[in-house]
């Protein structure tokens, strides 16, 4: 499916200012179905703001977001979701009193599936992300790492053209991270979509991304393959400061 009709998501010269804070200051990025694009940078670099812009939570001013060539900068977050942008948040934000299954049925209903179809899709996705516990468990009693996984599954249940994941690995241990990496790696083939991945864990980023875009202080610092970015002196300086001589220690 992804081969027959490549979709494209672009951010062009995006600025977002909060009062004096230039959260984004002229950033360009683009990706296609099948891509996994890492978005990294120090805290406050503008990563979450970028995802907010791409998903219609934040209007760029000035700047443009295009989906398959069409300007979608002014669409509401809800319309963006309908147009094919699914996202997860830094905090999982599951519906706490709904069951795991119901949390995944909601997006299915949202894209117009019947309850039966939405339920069977929800079960498939749970299965796919390897959730083997009770699907009828209420979400406010889930262990943390399950909560994170379910929130990714919920974004995918919208059958998006692009899935934007904001720090999905935060707070996970090494083993949970490895499992998450396997999941993210397989998202493009399984769902035929592109992925934007914000993540602080460099092991995860380097392990799953095809390309990496580095932000710093609202500006693009570099973009390239993991190997290119790893060796980029500007990136090293931003990330390591004075320790720049020993890159492998950190990345």
């Amino acid at each position: 499916m992804s081969e027959s009709r490549k979709e494209k998501l672009e951010a062009i010269d995006v600025h977002v200012h909060f009062g004096g804070v230039k959260a984004l200051n002229g950033v360009n990025l683009s990706l296609q179905s099948g891509d996994i694009l890492g978005l990294i940078g120090p805290n406050g670099a503008g990563k979450t703001t970028m995802v907010n812009v791409l998903s219609g939570f934040q209007m760029p001013h000035p700047g443009t977001v295009k989906l398959n060539g069409e300007n979608v900068s002014n669409l509401s977050a809800r319309k963006m979701a309908r147009a094919g942008i699914g996202r997860s948040f830094q905090s999982a934000r599951l519906f706490p009193k709904l069951t795991v299954l119901e949390n995944l049925v909601i997006p299915g209903l949202g894209i117009g599936l019947s309850r039966r179809a939405a339920t069977s899709q929800a079960r498939d996705i749970l299965d796919w992300i390897g959730y083997r516990e009770d699907p009828d468990r209420q979400c406010d009693s889930l262990p943390y790492s399950d909560e994170r996984r379910i929130s990714i599954a919920r974004a995918l249940a919208l059958r998006p053209s692009f899935a934007l994941l904001d720090e999905p690995a935060s707070g996970m241990n090494e083993q949970e991270c490895d499992r998450l990496m396997q999941i993210i790696t397989r998202i493009p083939q399984e769902f035929g979509c592109g992925v934007v991945l914000i993540e602080h864990n460099m092991h995860v980023i380097m392990g799953v991304c095809h390309r990496i875009h580095v932000l710093d202080g609202g500006k693009s610092l570099a973009e390239g393959t993991p190997d290119e970015v790893k060796k980029d002196p500007k990136v090293l300086r931003a990330y390591l400061g004075e320790q720049a001589s020993r890159p492998e220690a950190v990345i």
Binding site: R78, F95, I106
Partner: protein, 303 residues
């Protein structure tokens, strides 16, 4: 002992009423963060729709003259339409404003509806008798059970079960619960906001109309403020149950019913006029111990 059981049955019957009103208030609060004080006037107008508008103290029957299935249907339909119209005209335009504006709007709607009744039906209380057969008591194991109380309990239980099934099993019910927990997130996942809110109001109308009928069968009196007390009790019920929790609203309703009936039965006679003050003091005590209500989660359990 039989006296105590009698009191208990009273408590459960009146608690059922409060639980239904609390459920209506809780549902609307869930999706809109609106405490709809006009809920009381929905109940009042539902009851007034039984009679023909006139100045008479014993007015001719309007919907009250219909065969009972048609009567029930017409009263409930009237209240549903009323709830939907107030939502559309008074609350929807304010959906994105703050809690205070919504609250003020609900007071304004309430005031407007009361004036409307005053204009159409006049201000003095009226008597209306429907369901007289139900006021006869049934005797079970030595306990005298007024038919109205039995009816109230059965109707409340039935509505609760139907509502739970609706919320758990139907697509729109699941969407409504999601919207009640995180409205913005629900919208992002494709939950239709307008439809979900309209459904919540329609249910509050169905509950309101049912309560109109139950209250009238019980009291036989139409009064411009008849919806007020149940609504205030139900509001406290939702607060002690934990604002936004539907099971909490129901349990809170029964707690309020039990408190008021117990105080009524066991307070010394000279203190009985202060029964409501006593009930509300206990509510305040409960809230001092559990400010978030009985069913609401404590602030944040995990980080």
């Amino acid at each position: 002992m039989t006296h105590f059981i009698q009191v208990l049955i009273d408590a459960v019957a009146i608690g059922s009423l409060y639980a239904l009103v609390a459920l209506a208030i809780g549902l609307v609060f869930g999706v809109m963060r609106l405490i709809n004080f006009a809920q009381g006037d929905y109940i009042t107008i539902g009851a007034y729709s039984l009679v023909v508008p006139s100045a008479a103290a014993t007015p001719a029957l309007m919907f009250g003259a219909l065969p009972w299935p048609a009567m029930i249907l017409c009263v409930i339909l009237t209240v549903v339409v009323l709830a939907l119209v107030t939502e559309r005209l008074a609350f929807r335009p304010l959906r994105n404003s703050d809690l205070t504006s919504l609250l003020i709007s609900s007071f304004a709607v309430s005031y407007f509806l009361q004036s409307l009744i005053l204009m159409v039906h006049g201000g003095r209380p009226k008597t209306v008798s429907i369901g007289d057969a139900l006021s006869r008591a049934v005797e079970i194991f030595g306990v005298r059970l007024p038919g109205v109380q039995l009816l109230t309990m059965v109707v409340a239980l039935t509505l609760l079960i139907v509502l739970v099934l609706f919320l758990k099993k139907t697509p729109i019910g699941i969407q409504l619960r999601a919207a009640a927990e995180d409205f913005q997130m629900a919208r992002l996942l494709g939950v239709p906001a307008n439809r979900v809110i309209a459904i919540a109001f329609a249910i509050s109308g169905i509950l309101g109309g049912t309560i109109s009928l139950l209250v009238i069968i019980q009291t036989g009196t139409l009064d411009i403020r008849m919806g007020l007390m149940p609504t205030i009790f139900a509001f406290f019920a939702t607060v002690i149950g934990g604002m936004g929790s539907l099971p909490g609203a129901v349990v809170g309703g029964y707690i309020m019913g039990i408190l008021s009936v117990l105080l009524q039965a066991y307070l010394p006679a000279e203190l009985r006029p202060f029964r409501d003050a006593g009930v509300f003091s206990i509510v305040i005590l409960i809230l001092l111990v559990r400010p978030q209500g009985i069913f609401a989660k404590t602030a944040k359990e995990r980080v």
